[in-house]
Each structure stands twice: as C-alpha cells, then as structure tokens.
C-alpha cells in the first residue's frame, strides 16, 4: 500500500511538472485558406481650372459702377469615385466687397457680402461621376449705386471647393 502511494505521488508530480513547463498537446489540426482577396481603395480628387487660361477666374482692373464681368471655372472629378462638391467664396467683407454682386452658376444676383464664406452645393449636391467635368459660370458686377468713396478700392478673394465621397452628406 505504501509503495503504491509513493508511485502515484510521483506520477502526479511528473504530470504537474509537464504542465508547468509548457508541454504541448499534439491535437490533430488543419487549415484552409481563401487567398487573393483584393480590396482596392478608390481615389477622391478634384481639379479646378480656368478654361480660359491663367489661374484665377477673375482678374479685373479699372472697374466702374455698372460694369459686369464674366468668368468660368471647370471642375473635374479626377478621382475614381463619384463625389459631391460644395464651394464658397472666401474673403474680407470690406471695401469694394460692399458694392460687388455675384451671379454664381446662374443662381441669380446676390450681394457678395451675403455669400462670403457660405457653402453652396455644386450640381445641387448631386454626385459627379468619375472623370466628369462641371462648368461653373460666374458673373460679377459693380453696383451702379457705388459712390466715389469706392474709387481705387480693391477686393480679392478665393473660391474654395470641397469634395466628399458620394455616400456621405455634404
């Protein structure tokens, strides 16, 4: 009886030592692979240019009250994904800005100061397909009511465009 107790104690100690030392169990295993899954990310880029050459759509000097000037910008979806685009005019609401009006994309005449820094949707917020070009005509006029205090004043600003993927709201 004593001998059996000693033997069983030794077996328990050996098993514990094997477990503590990280002995591995060689279960049967298998592996299967599904390869070549391709996740090609699209690209979202736009390009805005002046089709008449030059950079800015407008570079006007020597304006007088009542003058109307026209310009056009071409917006191209140069990415691979459809996108929505919004735009805004950025600049100071001072000086000559107070007597300028804009008619952007044939939306009607509005005082420049009322549209400054305000986003509007290009193509009414509809998606622009990859590779598509949108022509954006604009007109600017100096109010006929502009007085002499505006002589020799200047105003400069930027037109910013922002594109976002089609599945997102602007």
């Amino acid at each position: 009886m004593m001998r059996w107790k000693i033997v069983s104690s030794l077996m328990v100690l050996a098993l514990a030592a094997a477990l503590i030392s990280g002995a591995t169990f060689a279960w049967f295993t298998s592996q299967a692979t599904n390869a070549n899954n391709l996740f090609q990310a699209g690209t979202l880029t736009i390009n805005v240019s002046n089709p008449n050459g030059g950079g800015a759509a407008f570079n006007v000097g020597n304006m007088a009250p009542g003058d109307v000037v026209s310009g056009t910008l071409n917006l191209v979806n140069t990415g691979s994904l459809p996108c929505k685009v919004r735009a805004r005019v950025v600049g100071e609401a001072s000086g000559l800005a107070n007597v300028l009006e804009v008619n952007f994309n044939n939306q009607g005449w509005q005082p420049l100061t009322s549209v400054l820094n305000t986003w509007f949707l290009v193509e009414n917020g509809n998606a622009i397909a990859s590779g598509a070009t949108v022509s954006l005509p604009a007109q600017v006029r100096m109010m006929a009511s502009a007085g002499n205090e505006h002589q020799n004043q200047t105003w400069s600003g930027d037109i910013e465009f922002e594109a976002i993927q089609d599945n997102t709201s602007l």
């Binding site: 279960w27 391709l38 979202l44």
Partner: protein, 201 residues
Amino acid sequence: MRKLLFMTALVCLAAFLMGGATLAWFTSQDTNEGNEFIAGTVKITAERNLGDPIPGPMFYTTREQGNFSDPSWPDHATGQWYPGKTETRQLVVYNQGSLHVKLNGLSAEVTGIDDPALAQAWAEKMNVKVFVSSSPGSVLFDGTLDQLLEGQYPTAAQPFLGAQNGSNLHLSFEVEMDTSAGNALQGLEPVVAFSVYAIQA
C-alpha cells in the same frame, strides 16, 4: 532417522535445482492477432460561395479579378473601396477528414502594400466580422483586420463540423472600411488571404 531422511531429500532437491534442471509445469498460450489502430484525419478545405461554383477570392474589385471568365455566371465584384463601404461574402468550409472538427482560429495575411506601416494602418481601418451564416449570433470574430495578422487568432465561437462526407459550414465575412479611414489610404490595392483553422472536436 526421519530427520535424516528429510535433510537428505532437501539436499537432493537443492542439488537438482542448482544443476539447471527444468520443471515441466502444464502451460498454454493463445494470441489475439490483427489489432489495428488507424489514426483519423483532420482536414478542411474552403471555397468562396455566393451561388457560383467558380473557385476564387471572396472579395474582388472587378469581374476579371474574381476569375469570372464564364459569362453565364453573375459575379459579385465589390467595386472600389471607400470609407463606410461594407460588403459581405461567404466562405464554405468543408470537412474532408474522417474526424469531427470544430473551427477554432482565423488569420489573415496582407500583401500588395510595400510600406509595412501603411499596411498596418490600412488593416486597422478594416472592420471584419465573421459569423456562421445560418446563425448570425454565432460570431467567430468581430474586430479589425490587424488583429488577424499575427497568426492564428482564437475564435470566440467554435462551430462544430461533423465528419459526415460533404459536411460543410457557411461562414459570412462582413468587411467594412471604417468611416475614420483617411486620405492616406486612397488608391491602395491590398490583397488579403484569409485562413480558417480547425481542430479535432
């Protein structure tokens, strides 16, 4: 006198044994032959399946990349990926072995992006959920792809797959490009190999 006889007999017996004489006890022997121990096999295979019999990847951008040269089969091309895009595809796992198994691990390998840091960043923005198609609550994995890149990842659920011939299990792989994925991930074309692991049940 009697003691003398007994001692003499004892001495004779001892001499007989020391001389190597054999004892002819009655004995018998029989054998149970032909005992065989054949090890079973654990073997799984996997194929994509959305109603087509064409082997190939689950996720592919174009029909050609999905190996759909036969025009009679509709493809399930994903198109290009962008933040917020989610696609689900199915992988059928077959038990081709002789033993019952349970699926206990998943892993993935990404190639096609040379910059390891960019590959890691991409994998962190790809959300992956793997579940049993017939039992969406039986989820094997729900996390980001980068968690599967370090080798076999233990699954939460361990679905059983019997050893009957042709036994199979449909797994759904739901993949989403996270909405926080930034412009740095534009235009990438990573290729992923998904692996499924099984162990005897």
